[in-house]
């Protein structure tokens, strides 16, 4: 993991002190509500349906066990609403049918961050100090600025990796932190970076998607995609550069964002993302960026060129950790042990097949701790569970975990011979659902139970589908399916990119759900990134599980041997799936 320098550490502490100053000025009436809002937003503090929400930045998803413990402490000591606030929330949500609004919890997001739902604003400065004590913060996790940079959860360990994206992500994190020119862009700005062949970071869906690759001469550079995004108008990014030398990335990003800052629309919030500018201007935008880049390099002297020394300095933080020495066992012996353990216990065998991924180091594995299980919302973790995750990271993964973009935790440094012990411990902790990439490994935003933007609740829909699909044989038979649920068009639950997408909509004050099929995040399984297509008018919450079942039954009826859901859908087309979905609507009695 990146090791903070004294400068980095002091910077975060000063930021926490600055926030305290702003909070106090607001509390004493010296800072107007409107003026305080963007300041708290750029520190991660939203005000949600009932209480403030804090979004903590987890740069490219990496967490140490020490940080996990502080996140646990914040959940335990601070994620508690004032009594009146909670009473109102329970009464209001109860009328909709939500009876569980957990407190003392944290939530893993699709952007690899961590959120809290109940911390009172009066305690916010204390929480920022606590975060700063472990080099954490909420800088630019909200607001119209460059947000936390996301990456491949398997960065640095993936077998298909061309180059480790983390040093670049860290260099860009520093460049984007409190960037003076780009703090009030037309709209939020999200960068994702991957360095592997497989795109596990949905780069095509980002304002800027970066893909590390090597050119014919063996030099390292970036494929630069600009103008992707979800929301009301889902668009896949346009390739601006097939190959940009790695050391030019910040000079180039400055050009990309400066042109956007000057010309992006500010008159309509739904048209303010860079995707709209890129789509509207097309080649003219690209020409402007290239002209600006030329000026930055030739006139300004390419000030942001990354030096080899800086790359080396940062990369030194990302060498594999020193792991406890083991009694030497050959790969064959370890494999034989695992096979025997798997033969003994089918649940362990399933877990090995689903939750364990290969590693650059043949003696190691990357293991997903699943946060997708009954009775808890996708990506939710209690204070105790966070502490347990920290213990597992210490015991099995050199003290490191990663937040994945599909809302789980990944342990990147697990010895193959420890897998069985890890599985036992994970099972004990409730993290061993053997469902990674299966239907119940669904993505869902907090939705209308917490979020002020939501048009409908996400969690009850996720819960109903989870309950219906608890048979692991059935889930395995259905195979890998991306089910993504968003409570509103802001698309935090990435519904556009789901093979099956569910979007909450509001009609006459009631919750309805639009279902889309055939979306892709750009992974090898799903094909080129694209938005799913709507199957028809929206459904009631009660209909949704039946609609999903009808769609899945259609898949089972049409698939060829070994064919995945998304491949079958692409082969036969959306029509039979659409017909099945619409056939699952409840029959309404004709009015007399």
């Amino acid at each position: 993991m990146y090791q903070y320098t004294d400068f980095d550490r002091q910077f975060v502490q000063l930021r926490a002190a600055q926030f305290r100053d702003q909070l106090e000025r607001w509390q004493s009436g010296k800072l107007a509500e409107d003026e305080f809002r963007p300041l708290r937003l750029q520190n991660g503090w939203y005000v949600q349906r009932y209480a403030p929400m804090l979004r903590v930045a987890v740069p490219y998803g990496e967490l140490s066990s020490r940080q996990l413990r502080v996140l646990a402490r914040i959940a335990r000591e601070y994620d508690e609403p004032e009594a009146e606030v909670y009473k109102t929330a329970i009464a209001t949500q109860g009328k909709l049918g939500s009876h569980k609004l957990p407190t003392h919890y944290a939530h893993f997001t699709t952007r690899q961050n961590v959120q809290y739902n109940w911390i009172p604003l009066s305690k916010s400065a204390d929480v920022m100090d606590l975060l700063a004590s472990v080099d954490m913060h909420g800088i630019q996790t909200s607001g119209n600025c460059i947000r936390n940079i996301t990456s491949d959860e398997r960065a640095g360990v993936a077998v298909d990796e061309i180059a480790d994206p983390r040093p670049f992500a860290e260099i860009m994190r520093q460049w984007s932190t409190l960037h003076p020119e780009f703090a009030f862009l037309p709209r939020k700005f999200k960068i994702a970076i991957t360095g592997a062949k497989e795109d596990r970071a949905a780069t095509g869906w980002h304002d800027v998607g970066l893909h590390l690759l090597k050119n014919d001469a063996g030099e390292l550079g970036f494929r630069v995609q600009v103008g992707g995004g979800m929301g009301r108008t889902p668009i896949i990014g346009t390739v601006l550069r097939e190959f940009l030398p790695w050391n030019q990335i910040m000079n180039y990003l400055e050009a990309v964002i400066r042109v956007y800052n000057r010309y992006g629309r500010r008159d309509n919030i739904y048209k303010a993302r860079i995707k709209i500018l890129v789509k509207a201007e097309g080649q003219r935008y690209i020409d402007d960026v290239e002209a600006e880049f030329k000026q930055i390099v030739e006139h300004d002297g390419a000030p942001h060129t990354v030096t080899q020394a800086e790359l080396d300095r940062v990369s030194a933080s990302f060498v594999p950790p020193t792991l406890a020495t083991r009694v030497f066992r050959s790969a064959e012996e370890t494999d034989a042990d695992l096979r025997a353990q798997a033969a003994d216990d089918v649940m362990f065998a399933r877990w090995l097949a689903r939750n364990v991924a290969p590693h650059k180091n043949p003696a190691l594995r990357a293991v997903t701790l699943s946060f997708k299980r009954r009775l808890q919302a996708p990506g939710d973790a209690s204070a105790d569970q966070l502490d347990t995750a920290a213990r597992l990271a210490d015991r099995f993964s050199a003290g490191e975990a990663r937040v994945t973009h599909d809302q789980n935790l990944l342990l990147p440094w697990v010895h193959a011979e420890d897998l069985h012990a890890l599985w036992l411990a994970a099972r004990e902790a409730g993290f061993a659902s053997a469902n990674v990439h299966l239907l119940t490994d669904m993505i869902a935003c907090p939705g209308g139970d917490f979020c002020a933007l939501a048009n409908a609740r996400s969690i009850p829909v996720a819960e109903a589908i989870t309950e219906r699909y608890q048979d692991l044989d059935e889930l395995d038979d259905l195979g890998e399916i991306d089910l993504h649920i968003s409570g509103c068009i802001n698309s935090c639950g990435h519904h556009h990119s789901g093979h099956i997408g569910i979007l909450g909509v509001d009609k006459d004050g009631k919750e309805w759900y639009q279902v889309t099929l055939g979306g892709s995040d750009g992974s090898a399984l799903s094909g080129a990134a694209q938005a799913g297509k709507v199957v028809g008018p929206s459904f009631s919450a009660a209909e949704v599980p039946d609609v999903i079942e009808a769609v899945l039954n259609t898949y089972r009826d049409t698939r060829e041997t070994g064919e995945t859901f998304i491949d079958a859908l692409r082969r036969v087309g959306i029509e039979p799936f659409k017909a099945a979905a619409n056939g699952a609507r409840f029959k309404v009695e004709e009015a007399a």
């Binding site: 100053d21 000030p303 300095r313």
Partner: protein
């Protein structure tokens, strides 16, 4: 360049119609006025709302790209919490809105000793600067 801005009270910012002062709307292209920069001593840029950040890029281009040496003044919805970033993008003065407490302003400049990225004033990012000698 000072690590501060000259703060001007709203009453003291008057438009006398000076020919060497230009008010540039925030959707104008600063590069288009390059030819007349020599005749100007001050350019007023405007923040219609403090959340509209176009003038930051304008200031950067005027100061750094075109090398304008005169005063670049922030006008409009100027809040003390944005003064530091104004200074960093090339502004040299700012008109505070009526009723804004200027005493809290200087504190903002004193807070951070340095920033990560290069800007219009300190062009070099921190990783390329010579380390500070140990105290």
């Amino acid at each position: 360049m000072n690590k501060t801005l000259r703060l001007i009270a709203a009453d003291d910012h008057v438009d006398n119609g000076d020919p060497d002062v230009l008010q540039l709307p925030n959707d104008a292209d600063p590069l288009a006025i390059e030819v007349c920069l020599g005749d100007l001593t001050r350019i007023d840029l405007v923040f219609p709302k403090f959340t509209d950040g176009r003038a930051y890029s304008q200031a950067f281009l005027l100061r750094r790209r075109l090398g304008f040496k005169g005063d670049i003044r922030a006008t409009g919805d100027v809040l003390i919490d944005q003064l530091v970033q104004m200074q960093r993008t090339g502004f040299s003065s700012a008109v505070l809105k009526e009723g804004v407490d200027a005493s809290a302003a200087q504190r903002q400049f004193d807070r951070f000793a340095a920033f990560y990225q290069g800007d219009a004033v300190e062009a070099t990012p921190i990783f390329k600067r010579a380390p500070e000698p140990a105290a």
